[in-house]
Symmetry: C2
Amino acid sequence: MKKLVNRPENVVEEMLSGMVLAHPDYVRKLDGFNVLVRRESPVEKKVALVSGGGSGHEPSHGGYVGYGMLDAAIAGDVFTSPTPDPIYEAIKAVDGGAGVLLIVKNYTGDIMNFEMAKDMAEIDGCQVEYVVVNDDVAVENSTYTAGRRGIAGTVFVHKIAGAKAEIGASLEEVKVTAQKVIDNVRSMGMALSPCIVPAAGKANFTLAEDEMEIGMGIHGEPGTHKDTLKTADEITAQLVNKILEDMQLLDGDEVAVMINGLASTPLMELYIVNRRVHEILSSKGIKIYKTFVGEFMTSLEMAGCSVSVLELDEELKELLNASADTPAFKLL
Amino acid sequence: MKKLVNRPENVVEEMLSGMVLAHPDYVRKLDGFNVLVRRESPVEKKVALVSGGGSGHEPSHGGYVGYGMLDAAIAGDVFTSPTPDPIYEAIKAVDGGAGVLLIVKNYTGDIMNFEMAKDMAEIDGCQVEYVVVNDDVAVENSTYTAGRRGIAGTVFVHKIAGAKAEIGASLEEVKVTAQKVIDNVRSMGMALSPCIVPAAGKANFTLAEDEMEIGMGIHGEPGTHKDTLKTADEITAQLVNKILEDMQLLDGDEVAVMINGLASTPLMELYIVNRRVHEILSSKGIKIYKTFVGEFMTSLEMAGCSVSVLELDEELKELLNASADTPAFKLL
């Protein structure tokens, strides 16, 4: 296992220390919990957004804590849902009186623990709602999931619901907008290599030298099939076509696109993929309003990428364009 | 070779297409040349900043074209200096009448080609100056270099000289500030794995399963030594101590820090390194004014990182803090 780590059992805590030291203007850590909150939390009268999940997907989600996105992010152990306690503490720390929206990726453990934390906070009188992101069109059920998995499309939910909260919308309104993003976003990924959970010390699956996995999950969950390595253009077409099959996009519709690197895939390759995504969508008359290329939701050191397509309307365009200022996502 | 590419000989051109499609608000490509320029180029009366070099270091340098940083970036073939022609075209395209500063990393090929392009542009009456970045303290001479190599510290030069140009400084003033950054910045890197130039198809060096290379260059040039893999804390201390030996930092001095991922190293690990960098500097009374953690100057899919330390004064602090808006570097 070749990693820049100290003791595998300390990676999450040491990472969070490193994040707070790097971004003291943005985030602080809750004492005794692996939770990052906006430095100025709670923001009075603003609906607070809380997300999180297992670690190993950085910059998700701690990197999105800041103006225009999240108020708190809970970091579980690597690829492991956080328990209800830190989620409850996060809710309490950021509730500014206007309620809290939990943005949960669709994994059984996350749903159970976020729901339990919601119940605990409601007993204290907090108003808490939640939405579940399930953007991965690859498979219907998976290792840790009933229904579709939540992957990089979640970052669009953070961005757009975050902007909605920032302009003073009510909890119900922010939830409706978050749900609209979820209804409108589809993603699919592929892997060229596995990754190694530090505490396990070995790869979580194997791929031959000429093999890739299409539809892979962000924890290494099986995808739709293994295949011989193809060209970037062929792989991109597989991902985009499967996504489009699941959307009702018409000539003239507008979308946002995210090309997300899983970690080891260089930016050069992500841009090559982006070129082909644009070609395919443009050939169908679909207008690309905004494109994001980079590492938004990673899988430790896995090589590969995912593509997300978000159908836009006027509200979503405006909120997507609103300024944001977080460690990992800035829009001027 | 597991890469998301089509034909290896087309990677640079396809990447640039993907960049322009992703960031049309920021950059356009010069017809017939692998050069990205600011969309609004030339900016009248502003000193223009031009950088570039071999590809494979993305987001360097095309990702830094935009407000507050570069006016143009020339992309050579992978790990290969661009020829004088595209550099000359870049200079001509962005010269707004106030002159052009070339920011060149210290590699023999780059220096030769940027100098030749400077001569060509001067014949046309352009005012051109250049600075050479040589921040890598690891080795004094190297495979492609006489003197020290230029690595991630170059991004500080882009940022700070870019801000200086944006406030209307003269070519001479921008050059003096760029040179001050170069004089004040030191970097050092290490690698856990090699990388594969697409056209070569095989790794550019080898490391055993428990081995790392300390002081590695961003093209896989040899470092100071190979060593058995150590903990993140031990590796970080090696890098930082070697950097500090080469600086005259005193108790109370202020610095900016950049923890740069070479590509395959997850953000989690970069934050773990950052934590230790802060511990070491703080223990010596050195104040960390600003920290950058991410992928700023990569080496295809190499695993590893570099640490850069920039000594600050009031001018550099102010310029470092000025807003910037480029595809890969935004500061609000």
